[in-house]
Amino acid sequence: MKFAVIVFPGSNCDHDAFHAATHVLGQSAELIWHKDTDLKGADFVILPGGFAHGDYLRTGAMARFSPIMREVKAFAERGGPVLGICNGFQILLEAGLLPGAMLRNRGLKYRCEHVYVRVEQTDTPVTCGAHVGQVLRIPIGHGEGNYYAPPDVLERIEANRQVVLRYTTADGQLDDDANPNGSVHAIAGLCSERRNVVGMMPHPERAAEPALGCVDGLVILESIVKAFATA
């Protein structure tokens, strides 16, 4: 399968996502510049982490105007799988491909550390290899990952089973201390109603090789390949 990794000016996990797709998963991948207007036949689109356009104005706010985003939207509307990681998640929210918004972390500080997330849904292209309730240890690295949606939206998200990952303790319990940024309903990952677009704050590509001391991110990455193979 072929991955497209979108490169915005200020993306800084683009090479990491590319490395994960090619070196870790053994698939083909192409870095696609934000001014391009063609996804070049990709089967899966990754919006990587970073600080697109410097995150000036608001995280992800400018990136949605990049020419390639029209293609990403069209791709998603056709049912194509899209994963936004960290800043990519923020861009998906700003682009309206996922509901809600990001606020600054509770505590107002950037946080980089390993956290635990519990898999809530497995009928998405990034969790189909996991089992419900599975707890993954994956790093985060963000200053604005405090997910927010108004009560009615939140109700709809929950009713539609769109929450894919929640911050929990190591044994899968919801606990305020285990929520690193104050996200409502401890939401760490979210999918679209059609379930093909997923955003997540944790970085699976940072936990995908033994050399990095943690391989739980492989559950996410290998799900992508599995979903493609069984589609």
Binding site: G49, F51, G54, C112, P139, G141, P210
Partner: protein, 749 residues
């Protein structure tokens, strides 16, 4: 207009220096020329006080591809790759404006690295503040840490470690030393050189504003009061702009259309044009009216002296301009052709065609003044070097050893710095093999089996008590930390933070420290490939502790053989390599428990240190050890405690021999537990490997002995058969890991 003596003085130039300028030019300089000389001959750019001493440092070796004098040093790390690295200070700006001062420090060192054609893959920093409990320190530290995080996180280079120290002497002069390392293909290394008559000089990056024009040169006849109001004292960083510059420059470097490139750091356009011309033996001619400007009405003087951030100067081969411009356009950066390389060795500055400055390049660089400043040992030295342990015991209530350990674990110099490094993205680029706080910073090199380990270290207290010895210990500790990770130390960089060099006592400290660094680097085979000197770190005539910070880089042949500080499993044997020598001088124990900064720092046998490091590298390569942790601040007891931390509460039983140094038995215990004798490392291994390690150590003359075993959930240490420390690891770890966090939590509350 002729230059009066007040103007010369305002530019920080001595009358004899002005005479020298007149001699070089064969005429009086104009104000723009005076400004150019003043910044190029400033201590910061010319190293006029330090140069004679720095020349004595070892800078060569088969591994060195680029020594001092370029934007950064470079060493061979195998597979045709080079590690390009340097450390630099941003002390003064960080005190004035902590966030931006620290942020632009990070931005500056990153530019130095990618300017050489290397992709930056790791940042580290060494920070010093006043006592954390003193008013203002936490605010300053919060700003500095946020500034480092704000810049590094955004540009996507992991901050993988470093050190933070607190001493009252840094209260008015915090230190912010920033280290960056990048990887380049050796064949792709590019220099800051201008050559080839007719080649084009390009300016790219942020527009030039009035920011950062040096304080000494700020007040001049051309400024009125209003313009000075607009001029911020510290530059403002834009990591997004720098990210674009980084990517665009690395892309341009792939084309071989460049002759040379240099960032505009200190002294901005002036320094980059003259240094590039001087290195290439060429002249550079530019027209300042072509320089992109952020403000209107800027004079040639201001444009040449501005230190606006995120700007680069490039020399492009004639005929290749369009190719280069196209790449910058892709990144929405505008590359502007502002001048050309000439053959006459002059820096010629025009403004709309009219010549406004014309100076021989070499007079600004190689022929800048050099001083042999007077030196004499400081008056305080003889007194502070005296330490009477019996008097210490008599004068104070001697604490129980367990209480002393807890006090040390909670002292900010020793306690966990997680509060800071959690704010740094230390995992971006997915190379970080050793997380911050777990020993030396270690990053793997993708595409190879190797990893690089790096450590920045320095102990101002030791250097205050004995600058030469303290500096040697800094080199030894940085190299030892690298070796503990399993990497062979191959090169070093230094950042020399001192007071006013015009005072003989400070100059003596400086010269002594450089001598110590040279001696240690020679024996440990870590040549200095570059660095930075920061002088005048004093307030109201009171200087900081002399603080040389040493960064050492080492190569780990197999990334997966990396060794960390933590004990790995229960039932492992704990061994001590090296020997306690009954030393307590300059220790953290004396400072924390007895409020004393006294005595001589630990002795250092460089040959023994070298043997120890070599042994560690071999043991790691053969996967014979599970953990390795260097004994430094707080001595053996703190070291063993730290080995227990971040393991989920694993305990240890330790038994060591007693000492008979003084009359008080508690003090004798304290020396054994908390003395900071150098060249010691605590390792853990399986019981069936012990004999082999003992033999290997004996063969290379390193003293090794079994001192205990891992297991349980308590840390117990016996001295001469008596258990003197007995603590729950969980309790000890809670104290160690939350002490700094609590200071900031209280501040918010």
């Amino acid at each position: 207009m002729s230059i009066d003596s007040a103007t010369i003085e305002r530019h920080g130039l001595k009358p004899e220096e002005y005479d020298r300028i007149v001699k070089f030019l064969g005429r009086q300089p104009n104000l723009t020329e005076l400004g150019i000389y003043s910044v190029m001959w400033s201590e910061h750019c010319s190293y006029k006080s330090s140069r004679v001493h720095l020349k004595t440092l070892p800078t060569e070796g088969p591994q060195v591809l680029q020594g001092p004098g370029e934007n950064a040093g470079a060493v061979d790390i195998g597979s045709g790759l080079a590690a390009v690295f340097k450390i630099e200070s941003h002390n003064h700006p960080s005190f004035i404006e902590p966030y931006q001062g620290a942020a632009t420090g990070v931005g500056g060192i990153i530019r130095d690295i990618f300017t050489m054609g290397a992709r930056p893959i790791a940042l580290m920093n060494s920070l010093r503040f006043g006592s954390l409990s003193a008013p203002g320190t936490s605010r300053l530290m919060e700003g500095v840490v946020a500034g480092i995080a704000g810049y590094g996180n955004s540009i996507g280079i992991p901050t993988i470690g470093g050190e933070i120290g607190f001493e009252p002497s840094y209260a008015g002069n915090p230190l912010v030393n920033v280290f960056c390392l990048g990887i380049a293909r050796q064949a792709d290394i590019i220099k800051g050189v201008a050559s080839g008559v007719g080649n084009a000089v390009y300016y790219v990056g942020a527009k030039t504003g009035r920011d950062g024009i040096h304080g000494a040169t700020m007040a001049s006849a051309e400024f009125d009061e209003k313009s000075s109001e607009k001029r911020p004292a510290v530059q403002v960083g834009d990591p997004f702009m720098e990210k674009l510059l980084l990517e665009a420059c690395l892309e341009v470097m792939q084309t071989d259309a460049l002759v040379g490139i240099q960032d505009m750091g200190a002294a901005g356009l002036t320094c980059s044009t003259t240094e590039m011309g001087s290195r290439g033996g060429a002249g550079v001619e530019i027209d300042v009216s072509l320089v992109p400007q952020r403000e209107t009405g800027m004079t040639p003087y201001e444009i040449m002296l501005s230190e606006s951030q995120e700007r680069m100067l490039l020399v492009v081969k004639r005929g290749r301009e369009a190719e280069v411009e196209k790449i910058f356009d892709k990144w929405d950066l505008h590359a502007v052709h502002i001048g050309d390389v000439t053959s006459d060795g002059m820096l010629r500055v025009r403004n709309r065609g009219q010549v406004v400055a014309e100076i021989p390049n070499r007079s600004l660089t190689d022929e800048a003044p050099v001083y042999h400043r007077p030196m004499e040992p400081p008056a305080y030295l003889a007194d502070v070097q005296r330490l009477d342990l019996d008097a210490v015991a008599a004068d104070s209530t001697m604490p129980e050893a367990t209480d002393a350990l807890m006090a040390l674990l909670s002292t900010p110099n020793i306690s966990s710095k997680k509060w800071a490094y959690r704010q740094y993205d230390h995992m971006v680029q997915t190379n970080t093999v050793n997380l911050p706080g777990f020993g030396a910073g270690v990053v793997r090199i993708k595409g190879t089996d190797r990893a690089l380990a790096m450590s920045v270290d320095g102990n101002g207290r030791y250097c205050y008590l004995d600058p030469k010895h303290g500096a040697m210990l800094a080199v030894a500790e940085a190299a030892r930390n690298v070796a503990c990770a399993g990497a062979l130390p191959i090169a070093a960089t230094n950042c020399l933070n001192f007071g006013n060099p015009e005072r003989p006592a400070i100059m003596w400290q400086f010269a002594q420290a450089v001598e110590g660094i040279g001696e240690a680097c020679r024996v440990l085979n870590v040549p200095i490939t570059g660095g930075n000197v920061s002088l005048y770190n004093e307030t109201d005539g009171k200087a900081i502790y002399p603080t040389p910070i040493i960064g050492v880089v080492g190569v780990l042949e197999r990334a997966d053989a990396v060794v960390g500080r933590q004990f790995k499993r229960s039932g492992d044997v704990i061994m001590l390599l090296g020997e306690g020598r009954g030393e307590l001088g300059g220790s953290q124990y004396l400072q924390t428990l007895h409020d004393l900064v006294r005595g001589l720092p630990p002795r250092l046998d460089l040959e023994a240190e070298k043997a120890l490091q070599r042994l560690l590298v071999d043991l790691a390569a053969e996967r014979l050890i599970h953990s390795a942790h260097d004994c430094s601040d707080g001595g053996l007891a703190v070291t063993v405690a730290e080995c227990c931390f971040d393991t989920g509460g694993a305990g240890a039983e330790i038994s060591i021999g007693g000492l008979n140094i003084g009359r008080d038995s508690r003090l004798n215990d304290a020396v054994a537990l908390f003395g900071e004798s150098a060249s010691r490392v605590v390792i853990s291994t399986t019981s069936d490997t012990v004999t082999e390690i003992l033999q290997r150590a004996a063969a290379v003359g390193v003293l090794a002995r079994v001192i205990g075993e891992t297991g349980g959930n308590r840390l117990r240490i016996a001295v001469a058969g008596r258990v003197v420390i007995d603590a729950s690891v969980d309790d000890a770890e809670r104290i160690w890991s939350t002490s700094i966090e609590h200071v900031f939590a209280r501040r918010v509350a």
